[in-house]
Amino acid sequence: MKTAINLSNDSSVQAETNKNVKISVNNFNLFYGEKQALYDVSLDIYEKEVTALIGPSGCGKSTFLRSINRMNDLIDNVKISGDIIIDNENIYRTNDVIKLRTKVGMVFQKPNLFPMSIYDNVAYGPRMHGIKNKQELNQIVEESLRGAAIWDEVKDRLKTSALGLSGGQQQRVCIARAIAMKPEVILMDEPTSALDPISTLKVEELVGKMKKDYTIVIVTHNMQQAARVSDRTAFFLNGEVVEYDKTDTIFSVPKDKRTEDYITGRFG
């Protein structure tokens, strides 16, 4: 536990000096019809870091995560105000959602592989973006599966149905599927909540490795997980960001009483 905090401590010190802001959120509000779900969210997410979003159920952390690649567009009657800026581009001002989602990948709470083979699942994204060359696809699939630390487990059964894998394996194939698009940002919505402890550990290790290539935003229920894997943590409550800071700061000297109460398990 302590080492984990120390580790993230080190990396965030580096971040202070040479990391850039990847995603900048300013006064972001979101409404489901009449009901407001996010209130004036403002925070900066740094490049090649893991940012954890924590908070009790229904606090808006998943909603916020889904705002970053505009998955909330799928729901009728969603209205937003404020800005989310990725690489100097306001994602709600551009009409190119495809480009946005290509750049910002996502891994969901439950593994949601398609009813196709493992290979087809991973190759799905590249194919949809016009890559037809078999060799190129083979290479992408292998690289992605290696990147998701699952290549060795599935390399002999690439053509079999992906739905035959265990939950933990499926989730890592989901990560491979996201990586295959060569995104810059990966959003993870409680990626381990449906997994057993060993699979969870594997995914966490993977996240730790991945941050050298990707900017990762992860929603989690599990505070130890946030402490283990993340560099920064934002604490959400009732649609507001109560506190956002380096993870070790949040977990050792929270500024807000509510953060402290949540972290120490007094509610949530």
């Binding site: 009409n95 190119d96 495809i98 480009k99 973006h129 016009g130």
Partner: protein, 297 residues
């Protein structure tokens, strides 16, 4: 990879996206266009006698006499016959079909269900005429001989034939709906100590309600719309039925029987009969839509 080809291909994608969306909308609108055309043509033809030729619509609806060759057009007996036949067949057909669907989806041992479900599906495709042939050759004489009637062509014969005909529709559609109910609902109920049967009736059937409603609407459509099978077993007499053994002439039968031979006002009055049938169906659909909307909340 430079930016411009990607953006270009994205532009093409968005264009296709818009185009396909509109194309799908157009496909969806074909139902509306068709309905409008059907209503337009049937109402135009059917209302001509009342608008242009001075026939009374009230006399048409509530008149007891239908003698086209003597210019008497009253469809009241047919309205009554249609209502009795449809309601009667639903009373018999819906519970049997629904219970069969429940049995197949929930209780039947797997091998049995595996054989029976497709067989019932097969039966959904059997032409209605064959049910009429069976009704005429078997049910009509059976009723006549066992109930001591002068004729077996009767309201009850119509009801039985219609009930049989709607069985496959009710069974297959409800079965699909019941199977679509998530396992977790059942487990949740069973875990609370509710029996299997209790779970089926308290949890599964209510959860499958919209599908079951669809089954009922579909089969009601089939019952009210059935013509050829009914012609053969109804007797087609022009009286207001006072008992199940009276022979009757439902609205559809009236149209089918006389359409080939009708011309002029007579033909237009058959279209008017169609309007009555139509109105019933539109009202029914409206009521059912309300019911299911309420049930959904």
């Amino acid at each position: 990879m430079s930016d411009s080809p990607i953006e270009k291909s994205n532009k093409r994608k968005y264009f296709l996206e818009k185009l396909s969306g509109r194309f799908f909308l157009f496909c969806a609108l074909i139902s509306v266009i068709s309905l409008a055309l059907i209503i337009g043509f049937v109402f135009f033809k059917g209302l001509t006698p009342f608008v242009a030729d001075g026939y009374s619509f009230v006399d048409f609806i509530f008149g007891n006499d239908w003698v086209p060759s003597e210019d008497k057009f009253g469809v009241f007996p047919m309205i009554v016959a249609s209502l009795y036949a449809t309601i009667g067949s639903l009373i018999i057909g819906v519970p049997i079909g629904l219970f069969t669907a429940v049995f197949l989806a929930e209780i039947a041992p797997k091998p049995i269900a595996k054989i029976l479900s497709p067989s019932v599906q097969l039966l959904a495709g059997i032409p209605s005429v064959l049910f009429g042939v069976f009704g005429l050759a078997v049910i009509v004489p059976f009723l006549q001989n066992n109930l001591g009637l002068p004729k077996g062509q009767s309201l009850i014969a119509v009801i039985i034939v219609l009930a049989i005909m709607m069985l496959p529709t009710i069974v297959t559609v409800s079965e699909t709906a019941i199977r679509a109910v998530p396992k977790s609902y059942r487990e949740g109920s069973l875990a609370l100590g509710v029996s299997e049967i209790g779970t089926i009736f308290k949890v599964v059937i209510p959860a499958a309600k919209s599908g079951i409603m669809a089954a009922i609407v579909l089969s009601m459509g089939r019952a009210i719309g059935e013509t050829m099978a009914v012609i053969l077993v109804a007797g087609n007499s022009l009286i207001i039925p006072t008992s199940l053994t009276d022979s009757v002439r439902p609205l559809t039968t009236n149209i089918a029987l006389e359409m080939g031979y009708a011309a002029g006002t007579h033909q237009e009055m058959l279209f008017a009969t169609g309007i009555v049938l139509f109105s019933f169906i539109l009202i029914l659909n409206f009521v059912l839509a309300k019911i299911s909307a309420k049930g959904g909340q």
